[in-house]
C-alpha cells in the first residue's frame, strides 16, 4: 500500500504526536510512505517562517529523506484541475495543494494520511493517523 502524507500529518510527525508515531512505526517496513512537492512546499514554508538554517537543514537532510519522494506528473496537474471543477460544481472549494495531493493519490490508488475531511469530497481514500485505527482503515 502507498500512503501519501498531507502537511498536517508531517507536522504531527515533527511534533512527535504519539498516535501518529505508533502508526508510522507499524507501517514503516511494509508500506510506501510518500511525500510530494506540494506538501514539501507547505512544510518548508512553515520552517522558513520561524526556524534557523540549521533546523531547515535537519528537515532537508534527515527528515525529508525518510519518506519516499513521489513527484507529480503533468497528468496529475490535469487531474487536479478536473477535481477542482467537480468540487466547484458540487459547491465545494479545496485548496490547490489538497487538489494536487488528491490527484497523485488517485493515480497511485494511494491512501492520503490526513486529518482534513475536505478530501471526503473527492474520490480518494484517507486515514487519520492522529486516531487509533478504525475498521475502515487499510491495515
Amino acid at each position: 500500500m502507498i500512503y501519501l502524507f498531507d502537511t498536517n500529518a508531517v507536522a504531527d510527525l515533527m511534533s512527535a504526536h504519539p498516535t501518529m508515531l505508533a502508526r508510522v512505526r507499524k507501517h514503516q517496513q511494509q508500506h510506501v510512505l510518500g511525500l510530494c512537492q506540494p506538501v514539501d512546499y507547505e512544510v518548508w514554508r512553515g520552517l522558513r517562517w520561524r526556524t534557523a538554517a540549521s533546523q531547515q537543514q535537519l528537515y532537508t537532510n534527515r527528515i525529508k529523506p525518510q519518506f519516499e519522494w513521489i513527484p507529480l506528473t503533468d497528468a496529475d496537474w490535469r487531474q487536479a484541475a478536473q477535481f477542482w471543477a467537480q468540487a466547484r460544481t458540487a459547491g465545494k472549494q479545496l485548496s490547490d495543494v489538497d487538489l494536487l495531493l488528491a490527484a497523485l493519490a488517485f493515480r497511485l490508488n494511494a491512501v492520503i494520511v490526513t486529518n482534513d475531511d475536505d478530501f471526503d469530497a473527492l474520490p480518494v481514500r484517507r486515514e487519520n493517523w492522529r486516531q487509533a485505527p478504525t475498521d475502515d482503515d487499510e491495515s
Binding site: A16, E42, R62, Q66, I70
Partner: protein, 83 residues
C-alpha cells in the same frame, strides 16, 4: 547501449511530442519503482528532537500553523472570485 551523455544529446533531436512521450514514460517508470521501508522512525525522531532545541512551544505552534494555512479564493454568488 547509449551512455547518459549520449541519451542527453539525443533528446535535443526529439520533437515536442516525442519529449512529452519520454516525460510520461519516465514518470511511469518512477511510479513502478516506489520503495517501501524508507522510514526509520527512531532516526526521524532524533532529528525532530534536535530541530525543537531552542524553540519554544508557541514558536513551534506558529510554525505548524504556517505549514497548515490554506489559501482558497473566496467566490461570490455569481461564481466569480471576490476581488
Amino acid at each position: 547501449m547509449l551512455n547518459l551523455q549520449e541519451v542527453k544529446e539525443a533528446i535535443d533531436y526529439l520533437s515536442p511530442e516525442e519529449r512529452a512521450e519520454l516525460r510520461a514514460y519516465l514518470d511511469e517508470r518512477e511510479t513502478i519503482t516506489l520503495r517501501a521501508g524508507t522510514m526509520n522512525i527512531d532516526a526521524l525522531l532524533e532529528a525532530v528532537r534536535e530541530m525543537h532545541e531552542g524553540l519554544t512551544e508557541s514558536e513551534w505552534d506558529e510554525i505548524v500553523q504556517a505549514m497548515n494555512e490554506e489559501y482558497i479564493e473566496p467566490v461570490d454568488d455569481d461564481g466569480f472570485p471576490r476581488l
